[in-house]
Symmetry: C2
Subunit: 414 residues, 2 copies
């Protein structure tokens, strides 16, 4: 094990112990100062970013766009820091309290998780955003960003750490791993003694690699093979805008819909119209046999496709016999992120919500609402697709755990 | 991967999907019938247990005692099933609900985790107890008990499954792995596609092996290197009974105290008395240099010992300079289970509770209260020493996750 990484883990744990005791107002002041400092140092950050960009000219345009910083994007990063400053500090919350039969007072207090490892791709805005959320919730963070963004990340983290130092706060609450080898990322995932949780953000491949290789607990985020189901009693004037919105408003994100199931009773009437409208929005439609009987020029969907997240303007469509078949198909093929039914029948909507095993289950609304901001959480560190600890959009509360503070006056157990 | 285990996983998942929709009253009826059936079949269960006992004659007495069943112990197992029947069904709980800015109604509903893998030692009462808790919370369970208890477990599980069948409930909600090889246990820990969480119960060695080898999420339970700290302002008439209770009332369990820290200001006065009383209760006392200066016949504690859980009538004692040093020592050496301060100074008690990073932090009470029953949770599946998902005593609620049920009337995201 890399001695430098162990030392970084020790420093993070020490910083976390200190930060857990810092008053909310001091954390908020620091976040606002970090925002000011990002703007004041924008030139240096942009210069560092340009050096990164020069080395990334062979990467895809999408990749370069995510890596690129300009004045406007730094303003966006600063705004995010200020926004986190005004959110409630989750560690000031007491969930509940009670008195036991022996007269012990038990307080269930929210406390920081401790040290959070973030493993992500070449997106400098995650560097400042994740730092803000972990810092506000009282956690120390160890950042391991994509190697193509190293100079930019160094410049951003330098600015954030300068504010910690000048504010008298534990500077090692924010640390960046500068060795971008796979070896060190792997060692971070095994740093059980110092790291409480790893949150990977990025592609499905990155996240799966972390889930498979980490011994530190992981919160799995972001895989979304989301389904829309148009029931036999659907109001088709609601169904159409929901389908167009869920598929096309931002096709690259995890809450975009990838699959459309249509009840057989409405398929002949609805499919020609919705497929035509999806195509007008640039969507490539694929279908099962029954869809192709109704709209013959639809390309056949392959078997594996029903388990695939496209993250693109592609949608596979299937005709189902019944609500039961729709639910079975979804529970078998979904990544359990977000699914929606379009129906006017309240009981069938309720059945769908009860029986579909996904984090968020909608009646008559677009899956695109699965988002910390839209849910009203104020911020989002990711969308959990696992069942343990956090499920669905994760805000500041999900970066905390609980501690029981028990106060007695000499009680012993009989 | 073992095809039989995969089939077991599939059956469990299917059973979990069905069980999630079963009414509470039907689950409670089944639990009461299971209790009746255990008693009605006590003879067969005891016969199976005697066959197991014959093969275990070379095991330690403690081991044999845990394996052994008699009429009275089967009554205890039946009582536990009836007790779980009267607890509130956690999946009937709605945590909260709200309306978003777009008029979506969001309900945060508690739902079962799904399929739970239990890996444990040769303790037949865990077979029925864990089945009851997972069943009541709507989960399917896959049991993998110690090989020495195989016949007993088969007999118990047969009885429980007969009730599921005769009640028209999904019989595969309770399944026992009959292949007790290490290979199959390892494969269960990697059955990500069908198992939602593994809960190991038993020795530190067993739990650490599961944490290290599982790819399925694990809830780590039960390691307890618990500390008591007698502060300079302690009421020593409270301190003494708390120390004796925490160390000696049941030394083999995880919430028993293993270490005693004493503030230097009270050490000379308090140590001779408490060491003498511990010895009267059969405790072997070990100490650091400063303790041995005060009570010279105390054996020296080794360096590694400060990180060791004895689970026995042994206690290591250390003199500390200050509250800070006590907190630092605990945060460095503890397993973060339960710790207690004895002090009359409210602010120092509060500091200890805030700064000690353990699941349960006491002022003026015995660590032995860290228990689902003592906390008032009604039942306990284990005591979590991790921070994710569950921390401290785990009752039925901790065997559930959440689902967001969102209801709209055509909303799309702008």
């Amino acid at each position: 094990m890399n001695q430098q990484l162990i030392e970084m883990g020790k420093r993070a744990q020490q910083a976390a112990n200190q930060l857990a005791l810092v008053a909310t107002v001091a954390k908020n002041d620091a976040l606002n100062q970090m925002a000011d400092a990002l703007l004041a140092n924008a030139d240096q950050i942009i210069a560092a970013n340009q050096a990164d960009m020069v080395n990334a000219t062979k990467m895809p345009t999408k990749f370069q766009d995510r890596l690129m910083l300009n004045q406007q994007r730094i303003v966006g990063m600063a705004d995010e820091l200020r926004h986190v400053a005004i959110l409630q500090d989750p560690t000031t919350k007491i969930d509940r309290g009670w008195i036991t039969k022996d007269g012990l007072q038990i307080i269930q207090q929210r406390v920081p998780l401790g040290v959070i490892g973030m493993i992500y791709e070449a997106r400098p805005n995650v560097t400042s955003g994740a730092s803000a959320l972990t810092f506000k919730s009282g956690n120390a963070v160890i950042l391991r960003g994509g190697k193509e963004a190293l100079r930019t990340n160094q410049a951003v983290v330098k600015v954030l750490r300068q504010v910690l130092t000048s504010s008298g706060l534990p500077v090692n609450a924010i640390q960046l791993i500068e060795d971008t080898s796979h070896q060190v990322a792997q060692e971070l995932m095994e740093l059980d003694q110092y790291v409480d949780v790893i949150i990977p953000r990025g592609s499905h491949r990155l996240i799966q690699a972390v889930v498979k290789n980490a011994t530190v607990p992981v919160i799995e985020t972001g895989a979304g093979n989301c389904h829309l189901y148009v029931d036999r009693d659907a109001d088709l004037t609601k169904a159409t805008p929901i389908i167009i919105n869920a598929k096309t408003q931002r096709p690259s994100v995890c809450n975009a819909a990838e699959k459309l199931l249509v009840h057989q009773d409405v398929a002949a009437h609805f499919l020609p119209s919705i497929i035509s409208q999806l195509r007008q929005h640039g969507v490539e439609v694929r279908g099962d046999e029954r869809v192709r009987q109704i709209v013959p020029d639809v390309k056949a969907a392959s078997d594996e496709e029903w388990d695939t997240e496209y993250d693109d303007l592609i949608m596979a469509v299937k005709v189902v016999d019944s609500l039961d078949q729709a639910i079975d198909h979804i529970n078998r093929h979904s990544t359990h992120h977000s699914e929606a039914i379009i129906t006017e029948d309240g009981e069938r909507g309720r059945q769908f919500q009860r029986r579909v095993n996904s984090a968020v289950v909608y009646v008559n609304a677009s899956t695109r609402f699965t988002d910390g901001g839209e849910f009203g959480f104020g911020a989002e560190i990711g969308i959990s697709t696992q069942k343990l600890h956090a499920r669905g959009p994760m805000g500041l509360d999900q970066l905390t755990t609980i501690k029981y503070e028990v106060t007695g006056n000499g009680q012993v157990r009989k």
